[in-house]
Amino acid sequence: MSAPEPAPARWPRGTLLPALGLILAVLSVIAAGVGQVDVPPDQVLGSLLHHLGLDIGPRPTVAQGDNALWIVRFPRVALAVLVGAALGCSGAVMQGVFGNPLAEPAVIGVSWGSAVGAATVIVFGLSALGNWTIVTAAFLSGLATTLLVYAVSRSGGRTDVVTLLLTGIAVNAVASALLGLLMFAAGDDALRAITTWNLGSLSGATWNAVAAVTPFAAAGLAAALACARRLDLLALGERTARHLGVDVERLRFTCVVVIALMTSAAVAFAGVISFVGLVVPHLVRLVAGPAHRTLIPASALGGAIVLVAADMVARTAIPYQELPLGVLTALLGGPFFFWLLRRARGRLA
C-alpha cells in the first residue's frame, strides 16, 4: 500500500466548469492580444464585437492591428483551444477505458501513429479530400494504432501499467522509424514542414485548419460525454460493469473511435504535443473527483487553458523566435509523468 492520499478536496458542485470556462475566455482574449503587434485586451474584445456587428468598445489602434488579430492570432488561439480540448478529453477517455491513470495518447504511441498518417499526406502532397485530407489520414492511422495498442496491451480483461508502457515504447519505435523514412523520402519543403510539426507547434494555424479540425473535435467531445456515465461503471471492472447493464464491447469500441478522433484533431495541424492529456485529467481528478461527467468536460476546458497559455509563452518568451510548443509541454509534463509512475509503482509493488 502507498501512503494514504489526502482526501480529495471537493470543488463546490457545478462551479468548476463555469470557472474553467471563464478562465479560458479571459485567457484567450489576452493571448490574442499578445505578440509582435500588441493589442490591449479591451481592443481585442472591441474588434471581436465589431465583427459580430455590435458597435461596442474600441477597435485596435495599432497599425495592422485588426489584420494581425483576424488573420494570425484568432485562428491560432482557436486552434489552441481545439487542440487543447481534444488532448485533455482524449486523455480522460483513454484513462477511463484503460482503467489506468497513466494512459495518454502520446505516451502509448497513438499520437505518433496519427502523426505517421498526417506526415504521409504532407510528404506525398496528397489532397484527395482537400482541406480534410491531413486530419482524415491522421484519424485513420490513429484509429489503427489505438486498436493495436488496445489489443496488444490487454490480458484477462485489464491492462497493467507495465504492458501498456512497453506497448507504447514498441509503437513509438515503429512510428518514429516510419516518420524517419518519410523524412528521408521528403523534399526540402516537406522536410521543413514535418520538422516544425514534429516538435509540436501551432504556427501553421489558419482558419482552414480550424475548420478542418472542428468537426472531429466536436464529434469526439460529444461522443465522449455520451460515454461518461458508462465509463464510471467501467471503473468497477469489466465484469461488474457488464452486470450493471453496460455493453462493454460497444463502450470500448466507441471510446477507441473517440480517442482516434480527438488525437487526429490534435495532431493533424499541431503535431505531437505530449503530456497535456496526462496532466490535465489528473489535476481535474484531484480537484473534482473521478466522475467522468465532470472529468471529461473539465479536462477539455483545462486542456484548452493549458494549451492557450503554453502557446502564448512559446511565441513570446524569446523575442522574434518561437519555442516549439511540444518541447515546452514535454519539459513540464515529463517530470510529472515520472512522479505519477513512481506513485503507481509504489501501489503495485
Partner: protein, 270 residues
C-alpha cells in the same frame, strides 16, 4: 435509440427465480462443474458451501452469465441468454469476491453506481432513497464521502455490498459477502439479506462459515468436486457424515441447545 426493457414485476414468493438444469462448465480439459440441477425460489436464501475449488464461484459466475456453460439456466422465468444486459441488470445484482476500482470514487458514488440499470425508468426517482437505504443497511453511511481506496478491506466489502443492494433487484448473487467482515457486520449483513428474502427476493450466497449458513439459510447446497453433493434445509444437509466426507476432515455436528440450528465443530488438535 436505446429501447429500455420493461422493469420487472414484483416477485411472487415460492415461484422459481433461478433454475439450473444439467449445468456443466469446463476450463480447458478440466471439468469444473457437471450435472448441476438447482432451483432457487423467490423468498428464500440459499447458501452455497463446499471446500476450496469445489466450484462455488464458478457456479455463481455461470448463473451470472460470465462463463460459458452447457445445460440450461433461467432467470425470472426466461433463459439467461434471452435477456438484454439491462433487462438482466434490473433482475439480478451480483457481488464479486474481489471488487476493484480503477479511480478513487467516493463511497456514495460507488453505491450510486448500483442504480445504473434504472436510468431512464420511473424507478430512477428512487435512486437517492435506494442509495441511502443500502448504505444504512451495510453501516457505511458514516464514511459516505471518503474515497473507496482509503477504506479497510472489510469496509470496502460492505460498500460493494451496498452497491449491490442499491440495485434493488429481486435476485441477489453474493460471492462471499461476509468473508472480510467482523462478527457484528456478518450478522448485520445476513439480517439485511434475510429481510430482503422476506420481502420476496431470492438470494444465493457463497458462504465459507458453515455456522452462518446453518443459522441464516433456508436451504444449503453443498458442492463437492464440481457436483452437487446435497441440497436441502440446513438441519438435513449439514450432517457429520456428509461434511466429514466433503471437507476430508472430522467434523462434528450438534444441535444448538436453544434454537436447534446445527452447530458445526471441526475436530481440532492431535
Amino acid at each position: 435509440m436505446i429501447r429500455r426493457p420493461a422493469p420487472p414485476r414484483p416477485p411472487v414468493p415460492g415461484t422459481p427465480a433461478i433454475e439450473v438444469r444439467d449445468l456443466g462448465v469446463t476450463r480447458g480439459a478440466r471439468t469444473v462443474l457437471a450435472g448441476i440441477d438447482l432451483t432457487v425460489a423467490y423468498g428464500e436464501v440459499l447458501a452455497l458451501v463446499g471446500p476450496n475449488g469445489a466450484g462455488k464461484s464458478t457456479l455463481l459466475s455461470a448463473v451470472s452469465g460470465d462463463v460459458p456453460s452447457t445445460g440450461l439456466i433461467t432467470v425470472d422465468g426466461a433463459p439467461l441468454t434471452s435477456w438484454t444486459r439491462t433487462g438482466l441488470a434490473m433482475r439480478r445484482a451480483i457481488l464479486l469476491q474481489h471488487q476493484t476500482l480503477a479511480f478513487p470514487f467516493t463511497v456514495a458514488q460507488v453505491v450510486a453506481m448500483g442504480r445504473a440499470p434504472w436510468t431512464g425508468t420511473p424507478l430512477a426517482d428512487d435512486d437517492e432513497a435506494a442509495t441511502a437505504e443500502a448504505m444504512r443497511q451495510t453501516d457505511v453511511a458514516a464514511f459516505a464521502d471518503r474515497p473507496y481506496p482509503h477504506l479497510s478491506g472489510g469496509e470496502q466489502a460492505r460498500v460493494s455490498l451496498a452497491r449491490v443492494l442499491a440495485q434493488r433487484t429481486a435476485v441477489l448473487l453474493l460471492d462471499e459477502p461476509t468473508a472480510a467482515l467482523d462478527l457484528h457486520h456478518q450478522e448485520l449483513v445476513f439480517g439485511t439479506v434475510r429481510r430482503r428474502a422476506a420481502a420476496g427476493a431470492a438470494v444465493v450466497a457463497v458462504v465459507h462459515d458453515l455456522g452462518l449458513a446453518a443459522a441464516h439459510a433456508d436451504r444449503v447446497a453443498v458442492l463437492h468436486d464440481g457436483r452437487l453433493a446435497a441440497c436441502g434445509p440446513p438441519s438435513d444437509v449439514l450432517t457429520s457424515s456428509l461434511l466429514t466426507r466433503v471437507y476430508d476432515h472430522d467434523i462434528e455436528v450438534l444441535p444448538h441447545p436453544r434454537t436447534g440450528h446445527p452447530l458445526i465443530h471441526p475436530h481440532r488438535g492431535s
